[in-house]
């Protein structure tokens, strides 16, 4: 029988949601201070108003009184699922009033894209956006990349008991250390370290290429965040191509791959257990998968006269491969080149890379390498069982933070999420086709949205059909939360509003 939300459940959900909304107001102070520093008074007023709006809404919700420290699994799922939508809505308010969006829905699309680290943007005249608005876009990336709940927990906003339920509802169920708060603090600390180091390195590269010091520092900070959280937003329309710097592209490739490696494996290496890093099922799946796909990518492009020269393959091709499999979405070729210069085979390869994505427990999206590895192990196990005598008990093991035996529960979880991802990729492609778009582009765009990959071919653009835009927003949201939280929330809400007799009969 499905369980309904009680009035008390709603109070608990509202209370915790209020805490997160207040936290989002604090985040808005960063673009506000940026605006003040650069004397951008109009954005300063906008972000102050938006922070006020968030503070008011959050404080009102916090009036809902609850017993402290009590947060059940169902309530946690609802808080997380709703937080991603409510915070995107709040984020879209200052963005919309910037005047850089054709419609309000476009601003919401960018809000969801920023928070889910999809990185697809349908902003108008990005090159002339204020520093404050840009800072806010990358703060959304940072917040969403690490996870709204992870960041909130690392600041100790919720108690330990509430934290455990919340943490596992955000598509992050791996713990670096047993304590949830310490795990989130570790994730935040490693991010601050990597982003700081990358900012300095990239700023130096930008200074050497002739950019003004303050601008170089800001751009370096922004692309460092975007690269490490595998987001994809950039401060310029031409994406990374704008900088025309091979060393910069190389640093970003390292940063993107680092961002797509699970924090758990990074922690193992941080403890000095380097062997665990190389034995891990994710590392091995990544090496085999990316090597195989690079081989096919080179073969398909080699057969075409337009993009087959070796320097282009090594610089542009390799960057696109890394940008796709880490689900970042940085581009070093234009959208037009993506659809007209690349062969359809290379186009498909990039879509497949985004579809699979990076490591579980990292900031990357997609199905995740660990699930693909586990499904492969399951196939091996099935074949072994078919060949083994009846009396034999087949045991298949894999390495992921220690040796683990493949269990039916692990396989079931991997298979379920795999099927949900693939179904959503297909469904999104059908929605695109139904709007009259080319099938290949519709498939590519659908994969880019669901996997939070963010490489786009032009379907997602200002003035796109509202129904398609709403579906893409749903895909980004569902893909980031890996479906289970979303489905649980939708079912709970449906059951709660259904007449009591019918719900009870199930």
């Amino acid at each position: 029988m499905w369980q309904r939300f009680t009035l008390y459940d709603l109070r608990v959900i509202g209370h915790y949601l209020g805490t997160l909304i207040i936290f989002s107001a604090v985040v808005m102070l960063v673009p506000f201070l940026t605006a003040v520093a650069f004397q951008e008074w109009e954005p300063a007023a906008r972000y102050l108003s938006a922070a006020g709006l968030a503070l008011t809404a959050g404080a009102l919700l916090r009036f809902l009184r609850i017993e402290p420290g009590r947060l059940g699994r169902r309530q946690a799922l609802a808080v997380t699922g709703l937080a991603w939508i409510v915070l995107a809505w709040i984020a879209s308010v200052p963005l919309y009033f910037s005047g850089h969006y054709a419609t309000y829905l476009d601003a919401l699309f960018d809000g969801v894209s920023g928070l889910t680290t999809t990185g697809a943007s349908i902003i108008i005249d990005l090159d002339h956006l204020s520093n404050a608005d840009n800072m806010f876009r990358f703060m959304m990336h940072l917040l969403g990349g690490l996870g709204l709940i992870v960041v909130a927990l690392s600041f100790g906003l919720f108690g330990k008991r509430a934290g455990a339920s919340l943490y596992s509802s955000e598509g992050r169920n791996e713990h670096v250390v047993p304590n949830v708060v310490q795990t989130t603090q570790f994730i935040s600390r490693i991010t601050v370290t990597v982003v700081s180091v990358a900012t300095v390195v990239i700023a130096v590269l930008m200074l050497l290429s002739g950019m003004a010091p303050v601008r170089a520092l800001l751009h370096a900070f922004w692309v460092s965040i975007s690269g490490f959280v595998t987001g994809g937003f950039t401060p310029m329309t031409q994406s990374i191509m704008y900088y025309h710097s091979f060393p910069l592209e190389f640093v970003l490739m390292v940063l993107m791959i680092l961002g797509s490696v699970s924090f758990v494996i990074q922690a193992e290496a941080g403890k000095g257990r380097v062997g665990a890093f190389f034995r891990d099922i994710e590392t091995r799946t990544m090496i085999i998968w990316v090597a195989a796909i690079t081989f096919v990518f080179t073969l398909t492009l080699g057969s075409d006269s337009l993009f087959s020269d070796l320097p282009a393959l090594l610089r542009r091709g390799m960057f696109m491969i890394v940008s796709a499999f880490t689900t970042t979405g940085f581009q070093v070729i234009t959208v037009n080149q993506l659809t007209t210069v690349l062969t359809s085979g290379a186009f498909l390869v990039i879509a497949l890379l985004m579809a699979v994505g990076g490591g579980a427990g990292s900031t990357a999206g997609g199905i995740k390498l660990s699930r693909v590895g586990i499904i492969w192990k399951s196939i091996v196990s099935t074949v072994k069982e078919a060949l083994a005598p009846d009396s034999a008990r087949v045991v298949v093991a894999y390495s992921h933070v220690g040796r683990r035996v493949l269990s039916p529960e692990v396989v079931k979880e991997a298979m379920t999420v795999f099927v949900l991802f693939v179904s959503t990729y297909a469904l999104g492609a059908l929605v695109g086709v139904a709007h009259g778009y080319d099938a290949t582009q519709a498939i590519f765009e659908s994969v880019a949205m669901t996997s939070n990959g963010g490489l786009i071919t032009g379907l997602a653009a200002p003035g796109m059909p509202v129904t398609l835009e709403l579906f893409y927003i749903f895909q980004m949201w569902a893909g980031r939360l890996e479906f289970v939280t979303l489905l649980a929330l939708v079912v709970e809400m449906a059951v709660s509003v259904a007449p009591r007799g019918k719900a009870g009969a199930r």
Partner: protein, 45 residues
């Protein structure tokens, strides 16, 4: 968190040798991909 901060030769609680190995592995991975692309491209003419 205790274990991270007690490491000798650590930077912000992270083992320098472990972190350096991960970074070096990623750089090697990128270089290996370049070699693969070059070999494949040259092989197909």
């Amino acid at each position: 968190m205790r274990k991270f901060s007690k490491n000798k030769g650590s930077f912000l609680g992270l083992s320098l040798s472990g972190s350096a190995t991960v970074l070096l592995s990623i750089v090697t991975f990128i270089v290996a991909m370049w070699v693969l692309i070059t070999v494949t491209r040259v092989a197909i003419g």
